[in-house]
């Protein structure tokens, strides 16, 4: 031990190559020693420098604490620092001057350092907060303040140097300081277990803070995009009603009942609950008011067959039943419904694919005469042509019929629909391939009274349907014909020119276009909705149209758009326009659309081809789309 000290001491004083026996040396050490540079000498110098700095800092702290009025003390200290020399006043003044300069240089250096900038920002933020609370405003930190901050940093006691031993601030255990040792809350060092614990606590605190912040804001950029696509985006605060319903949905388990809320509001609550899948056997009771004649459940997936029976037992005046995802709505529930004295006039059932064909027919025969509306979605194979055939006799007062995704309904079923003489609203979306003739038969027989005609996915249906609509339909308000690959531009133009029907309110002709993967741009026979048809539509229905969807009607020319949305044209009602994948639309046309449609709320222009070098402003992006102008 003693000899080691002597050895190192010798080395330091002798300032010559290390002669002690050591392990293998690196190439760098060899190189440095050949250049007469000694690692331990550098270390020794650095240690000396640090010790001097620590001493000076300690003196400084004391100095500041004592204050400037104590001049004697100050001088004494400086005497000490100078090593007790008997210097003159001049040299003392010079030393003081030098010290001051050094300090100023150090302060300047600190001001440039990252730590200082960070601390300053923190302080600024704190200040601002205070100011805001007091109601004033001050943009920046005063200069004297920032000097104080730098001085405080300078005066901060430097912690133990890495490699040194120290006592942990929390557990008092002795440990070796490393560059990774953490500083404790009071400025001391922490041993590694205590440091880890502290880090964990801090992280936890951070984690606890974050979700709160997220809940406060309206949501991030992604959420906003999602709201734009959902169509629920709007500028400004949410309506009070929505806020209340959201709060209610969050605390639905506390609610005993919904009191005397009007059915409209109850319906909104039901929708909100379903969105979060909160509707279950326990929350069902909130929606079963015996005084109501309607029950609408938008996500009934968690209800059992017994729960459905409960609905019929409690709501004895039930007339309108609307159930989505009604998976457990089985034969036994239907049987119960048949045996009760309940006469529904409106049934909306989605996903009840366990109800058998026989049961459907039995129900329709027993209770069908009261039915005015029947909407059936996703019933698998059990709603078929046989079920449709019973409608004529057993449901004489049916005015609304909707069949969506029922795999077994075919052309024969459609022909049978033509016999439902009171039908006013008809929507069909069938899975089986269908031909034109059955639809023509339906339109010929019901055309006069039909107000809604919605035919989705009718790829093989051709112009004859359009001609039949032109001939027969006179009271249509809503028309949807989608995905046709055989209808032509001439057919659409013929239908709308001189049509006796009043102007439509809702028109959806999406994806009525020519499809040829080999030559997508060529359209010799003008298949699908093209320029002439589009002009005819807007001439006939432009004044009344509120919703227009011509998604992917790719062959409508720019000239037709420019003509339709010319300067002198106005479409006062149009509030939603979907022109995605119409390739000829340019920014000029979009501008014209906004000019011609004062009521436009939503314009969807996905994949519109914008000419090179031009900018399309107003595409729904991260910032969202705002319509210019003032509201009343």
């Amino acid at each position: 031990m003693c000899s080691w000290f002597i050895l190192t001491d010798k080395c330091r004083s002798a300032n010559r190559p290390n002669q002690g026996i050591r392990g293998p040396r690196s190439a760098l050490t060899d190189f440095l020693s050949s250049q007469n540079i000694q690692a331990h000498q550098i270390r020794a110098n650095a240690n000396a420098r640090r010790a001097a700095a620590a001493l000076a800092a300690a003196a400084n702290v004391q100095n500041n604490a004592d204050g400037d009025d104590d001049a004697d003390d100050d001088e004494n200290e400086e005497d000490n620092e100078a090593g007790g020399s008997t210097s003159t006043t001049a040299s003392r003044a010079r030393a003081r001057e030098q010290k001051k300069q050094k300090q100023e240089a150090a302060i300047a250096k600190i001001k440039e350092s990252k730590l200082y900038i960070k601390k300053k920002q923190q302080k600024l933020a704190r200040e601002k907060k205070h100011k805001r609370k007091r109601g004033g405003d001050s943009p920046d930190l005063p200069e004297s303040d920032s000097d104080d901050l730098a001085r405080a940093l300078l005066d901060e006691k430097p912690g133990p140097v890495p490699g040194q031993m120290a006592n942990c601030e929390i557990c008092d255990k002795r440990f070796t300081v490393t560059p990774y040792s953490r500083a404790g809350p009071n400025g001391g060092m922490l041993c590694s277990p205590c440091g880890k614990k502290l880090a964990k606590d801090q992280n936890d605190a951070k984690k606890n803070k974050k979700p709160k912040l997220a809940a406060q804001g309206g949501g991030g950029r992604r959420k906003m995009q999602s709201r734009i696509l959902d169509g629920t985006y709007h500028v400004g605060a949410k309506p009070l009603m929505n806020l209340c319903i959201e709060t209610l949905a969050k605390n639905i388990q506390l609610a005993d009942g919904l009191g005397d809320l009007p059915p409209r509001v109850v319906d909104l609550i039901a929708r909100k609950l379903s969105k979060h899948r909160l509707l279950g056997p326990d929350t069902l009771r909130l929606f079963l008011d015996p005084r109501n004649d309607a029950v609408s459940l938008y996500d009934a997936a968690r209800l059992s067959s017994q729960d459905y029976v409960t609905i019929f037992q409690q709501v004895t005046q039930l007339k309108k039943l609307k159930l989505r995802n009604a998976i457990q709505f089985k034969d036994e529930v239907m049987q119960y419904l048949i045996t009760r004295n309940l006469n529904l006039d409106s049934i909306y059932l989605h996903g009840a694919n366990l109800v058998s064909e026989a049961c459907w027919i039995e129900y329709l025969k027993a209770k069908g005469e009261h039915l005015k509306a029947l909407q059936i979605y996703y019933m698998d194979k059990h709603v078929n042509d046989a079920v449709v055939s019973t409608l004529k006799v057993s449901c004489p007062s049916l005015t609304r019929l909707k069949l969506c995704h029922n795999q077994e309904v075919s052309d024969d079923g459609i022909k049978l629909i033509a016999n439902l003489v009171k039908l006013e609203h008809l929507s069909l979306q069938l899975i089986k391939k269908t031909k034109t003739d059955p639809y023509v038969a339906v339109v010929q027989s019901l055309g006069k009274q039909l107000q809604t005609l919605s035919l989705k996915n009718i790829a093989d249906v051709d112009n004859r349907l359009l001609d039949a609509i032109h001939e027969n339909c006179t009271s249509l308000k809503k028309l949807r014909v989608t995905d046709s690959e055989h209808m032509t531009d001439a057919g659409f133009a013929r239908m709308f020119k001189g049509w006796k029907n009043r102007a439509l309110v809702f028109l959806d002709l999406q994806k009525c276009r020519h499809v040829d993967p080999a030559k997508p741009r060529e359209n010799e026979h003008m298949v699908g909705l093209c320029s002439e048809g589009f002009r005819a539509i807007m001439t006939h229905s432009g004044t009344n149209l509120r919703y227009l969807n011509i998604h992917a009607c790719r062959h409508i020319s720019a000239a037709a758009f420019e003509e339709v949305f010319a300067e002198d044209k106005v479409y006062p009602q149009l509030s939603k326009l979907e022109i995605s994948f119409c390739e000829e639309v340019t920014d000029f046309i979009v501008g014209s659309i906004f000019r011609c449609c004062p009521a436009l709320k939503e314009l969807n222009v996905k994949h519109v081809k914008v000419p090179k070098g031009r900018i399309l402003v107003g595409v729904p992006n991260a910032i969202g789309m705002q319509i210019e102008g003032v509201d009343d």
Binding site: Q216, G217, G218, G219, M224, G231, T232, Y233, H234, V235, G236, A237, K238, P239, L240, M241, N242, L243, C244, I245, E246, T247, L248, N251, L254, A255, L258, G259, D260, L261, P262, R264, V265, L268, F506, R546, Y547, S575, K576, K601, E602, I623, G624, D631, D632
Partner: protein, 111 residues
Amino acid sequence: MDLSKYITLVSKDGFEFVVLRQAAFISPAIKSMLDPRSQFQEAKTSRCIFGEISGEVLEKVVEYFHYWYKNKEREDVPDMDIPVELCLELLMAADYLGLDSKANPDRQVRY
């Protein structure tokens, strides 16, 4: 006659709230009550008395009016805090005053 910038809302238990006229007009019900062209008493005195809304609820409604007015042009607005115990009563009041999405001019129409 020049209309005052403020109006007074009175709850059934006698609490009075003075509200910015423009802020209260988010409610179509109040707007039509105070329409100067109408001959309603409310329009003349700029005082609306709500016989069915308690002071506690009306206070929250008034808070909402100002919250709405302050955030009128903003995007990504933080939600206002609704006390759970007032939720149902507030919902009734919101329905009565027409504070649903139809009242919002920037509402997007869904079909």
